[in-house]
């Protein structure tokens, strides 16, 4: 990076007390545009929220250092503004190439990776406090001795005696350089390893790490500033011929977190049953008029599910594991799995328990249409108390689905297909679907789950009897 006297480069700041990275969502300016001080130039998404970042410099945009969708580490160049004159002076010493050389130990990489994980996991942690990163950092410093990163250059010579180090800065300096403190000659009073000792050890090891930096630069994809592309994160992993690395999008990472959490925390069990939906199918067809198509099958299913949830409230609940209590909700916010443009989302029809079938039909159509294009509200995306999963559109019958944590159950419907069925001793073609029900076994037993599913299945098979009871 060449920072001339008239160019000022704005490095991505920590936007939320201890964050280490952000994803570029949208540039609000293009190269060549004029920008004023404090004018928003980019929208980025952190683990905590989406933020518009204002430029500290006035002038003309000389370079955008990341593409939309890129993940950028805090401290890396974000935007370069030329011929400004207002705002803080750029600090050429803090330009990225220098920073790059100090880093690169694999242990440090792992630690950074682990920290990013913690950061995402704690996304609800919004405090006035200042200690987030330091806290996580100090936890890591107490890693077991066996996992301490060893120097690639200097072999360990001392035994298992504790190393005399006073300053945590010295430990960090050594860790970041991938040096083993035990192998560093101490010059301080009483054999204490000082900062200058570590730095002279780094200088001796420099040729090797310099080669590493060059190699990393070479594999980054043709950007002027290699550190600004996703390569900055991924390029330290060696490229293996025949493999491609595709970073997960922010959306995918969030989804992965929820899915993993569900599978690791919830001891789920699955029950399923084939259901004859002919009577419901006929009812739906009978309610069509030329002017009004009437409620769709999904709305009928939703209405029956709501009725059955009222009968089995334990399934419209969450588990408070800290207090070992089941928390049942008065309200039913019926989550519905929707394949959106970005991926699977599960927005909820809020207050589904107070809706008629016709109202549910309208609410579902509206919600699904909005969710497909990413327009469901954050409340809708988080308020679900139970999920209805209709995967018949994918032309499959069953699914051992993953419960949408912290909910406790998910009910799935497969495709409706004509099958030979025995009715009154005769084999006749009927409209058959399969229901799959996955539930958190901690909140109820199989008998309850089967009772709930049967309640929905009976309503489908004999809708008129169910409707008169609604």
């Amino acid at each position: 990076m060449t920072a001339t006297a008239t160019e000022q480069t704005f490095l991505l700041p920590d936007l939320g007390e201890g964050l280490t990275e952000a994803e570029v969502v949208r540039w609000l300016v293009a190269e060549g545009d004029a920008v004023a001080v404090d004018q928003p130039v980019v929208e980025v998404e952190t683990a905590k929220s989406v933020v518009e970042v204002p430029s500290p410099y006035a002038g003309r945009v000389a370079a955008l250092h990341a593409a939309e969708g890129d993940l950028l580490e805090v401290g890396k160049p974000l935007i370069t503004v030329s011929a400004g004159g207002v705002g803080p002076e750029s600090d050429p010493e803090s330009d990225p190439p220098l920073e790059l050389e100090g880093k690169g130990g694999s242990g440090d990489k792992q630690a950074a990776e682990a920290y990013r994980e913690e950061e995402r996991a704690g996304s609800g942690n919004v405090l006035i406090g200042y200690g987030t990163s330091e806290h996580a950092g100090s936890g890591r410093r107490r890693r077991p001795r066996g996992s301490r990163p060893t120097s690639p250059v200097v072999a360990a010579t001392a035994g298992d005696r504790p190393v005399k180090v006073i300053s945590p800065i010295v430990r960090r300096l050594a860790r970041e350089a991938g040096l083993d403190l035990r192998a560093i000659a101490a010059s301080g009073a009483g054999g204490v390893v000082t900062r200058s000792d570590v730095r002279s050890a780094i200088e001796h090891a420099a040729p090797a790490s310099h080669r590493g930096a060059v190699a990393r630069g070479a594999v980054a994809r043709g950007a002027a500033a290699p550190s600004a592309s996703p390569g900055a994160v991924a390029s330290s992993v060696p490229d293996v011929p025949g493999e491609r690395r595709i970073p997960l999008s922010g959306f995918q990472r969030t989804a992965a977190k929820v899915l993993s959490r569900s599978r690791s925390e919830i001891p789920e069990a699955t029950v399923w049953v084939d259901v004859d939906a002919t009577a419901l199918w006929d009812l739906r067809e009978a309610s069509r008029t030329p002017a009004d198509t009437g409620p769709g099958l999904l709305a009928h299913l939703a209405r029956f599910v709501v009725a059955s949830l009222k009968e089995y409230p334990v399934l419209n609940a969450r588990l408070d594991v800290e207090r070992d209590e089941i928390v049942e909700f008065d309200r039913i916010n019926l989550g519905i799995a929707v394949q959106g443009e970005q991926g699977l989302v599960v927005p909820a029809v809020l207050g589904a328990d107070e809706m008629t079938t016709v109202e549910l039909d309208a609410a579902l159509r509206d919600l699904v249409a909005r969710a497909r294009v990413g327009k469901a509200t954050s409340e809708e995306l988080t308020a679900g108390t139970f999920t209805l999963n209709s995967y018949g559109g994918f032309r499959v019958d069953g699914s051992a689905a993953i419960i949408n944590h912290p909910q406790v159950a998910i009910l799935g419907f497969g495709r409706i297909i004509d099958r030979p069925w025995v009715v009154d001793g005769e084999i006749v073609p009927r409209k058959i679907t399969q229901m799959s029900f996955v539930f958190d076994h901690r909140v109820c037993d199989g008998g309850t789950a089967a009772g709930f599913m049967r309640s929905v299945a009976d309503a489908i098979e004999n809708p008129l009897a169910a409707i008169v009871r609604l």
Partner: protein
């Protein structure tokens, strides 16, 4: 409420409205406070401040709290009350010292009689009572105005401060800015009391609720409370009902716990819009005056920006210099170690060592 959200005086308003000059002064303060909040918000997203809790939407409370006090009085602010400190005349750059992370965390409290911004909830309240009580014992006419939020009323310190102040008739005004949320916790999960002002009953002191977005009403109620305290009639609790328009801090996403239409309803009650509408309708404020207020606010913003953007290279010795009047042997030893380390760098004055001195 003396002024309705549209700026028209209410029935009670006409009798109690403060003089036009007072209101103009308040509007100038609010315009500057809003600009200061916006500037600090930009600075935090530029990495120049570590964190910023904005009082956007609460400017009437911020400015009124400063405006009702005399020069010899004391203000005890929380971390969200930077705009109140600025309104009281503290240098805006120094006010942000804590939030920038300067080693000294701020300004000289004695210069403008503004206690340090406190981050722990409600800890400033007993301190405020102590200062007020001391002033009373000395026979001084000092009044202390202590700020806190709705969340702080659940803290033990709040109870102790109010009880002690009531028993000893300390000249202190407790001004609760009820902005409806303690970070993400809504008021309904904070108290089931009919209002926060009701809590005064339990301590035997007057409690008054006031529209926290109505500067005229705030000046009226708070100056009454200050006068009462100055006259030796003891403490008072004032609850200003207001709203935090922005997120708790830059590290918070408020859309996760409150709906957009709730925010929009409070935006419609904006304290600046209301007062400006009234002053223009009365012919007290004209375009020239309004432009002058905006210019002055811009000056505050520029001064803030330039000051915060100016990097200070800290002197490592300051770490030890102001801890004890007489340094302990341990501190002397540690200072020697630092000097030893820095001495080793002097042969090669390169960047990493400077960078570390910053940390």
């Amino acid at each position: 409420m003396l002024l309705a959200p549209d700026g028209r005086p209410t029935a009670a308003g006409t009798a109690h409205l403060p003089p036009g000059e007072e209101l103009l002064r308040g509007l100038a303060g609010m315009v500057a406070a809003r600009r200061f909040n916006d500037q600090a918000g930009a600075l935090v997203r530029q990495g120049r401040l570590a964190v910023y809790p904005s009082s956007h939407g609460q400017e009437a409370c911020q400015v009124a709290a400063a405006q009702v006090l005399d020069g010899g009085d004391w203000l005890f602010p929380t971390y969200r009350d930077t705009a109140a400190a600025v309104a009281r005349g503290v240098d805006p750059v120094e006010v942000l010292g804590l939030l920038k992370g300067d080693w000294h965390s701020g300004y000289d409290p004695y210069e403008r009689r503004v206690a340090p911004l406190t981050t722990p909830l409600a800890t400033q309240l007993p301190h405020a009572v102590g200062v007020a009580h001391a002033a009373r014992l000395r026979g001084e006419s000092t009044v202390v105005l202590a700020l806190c939020g709705d969340g702080a009323t659940s803290e033990g310190d709040f109870h102790e401060a109010l009880n002690f102040a009531a028993v000893f008739r300390a000249p202190v005004v407790f001004f609760v800015q009820n902005n409806q949320y303690a970070i993400s916790v809504p008021l309904a999960r904070q108290t089931v009391a009919p209002s926060l002002a009701h809590k005064g009953v339990g301590y035997g002191i007057p409690g008054e609720q006031v529209d926290g977005n109505d500067l005229a009403a705030l000046l009226d109620v708070l100056s009454g409370a200050v006068a009462r305290a100055r006259a030796g009639e003891g403490p008072q609790l004032v609850e200003g009902r207001t709203y935090r328009i922005q997120a708790h801090t830059n590290a918070d996403d408020a859309t996760r716990y409150r709906p957009d239409d709730e925010v929009a309803a409070w935006v419609a009650k904006d304290p600046l819009v209301r007062l400006e509408a009234y002053l223009r309708a009365e012919g007290i404020l004209d375009d020239a005056r309004a432009a002058a207020f905006a210019d002055a606010a811009e000056q505050v913003a520029r001064r803030t920006r330039d000051g915060i953007n100016h990097d200070v290279v800290p002197d490592p010795d300051d770490l030890f210099r102001y801890v004890y009047a007489e340094p302990t042997p341990q501190l002397v030893e540690q200072l020697a170690l630092v000097h030893d380390e820095l001495g080793r760098d002097e042969s090669s004055q390169d960047e990493p060592s400077r960078a570390e001195a910053h940390r």
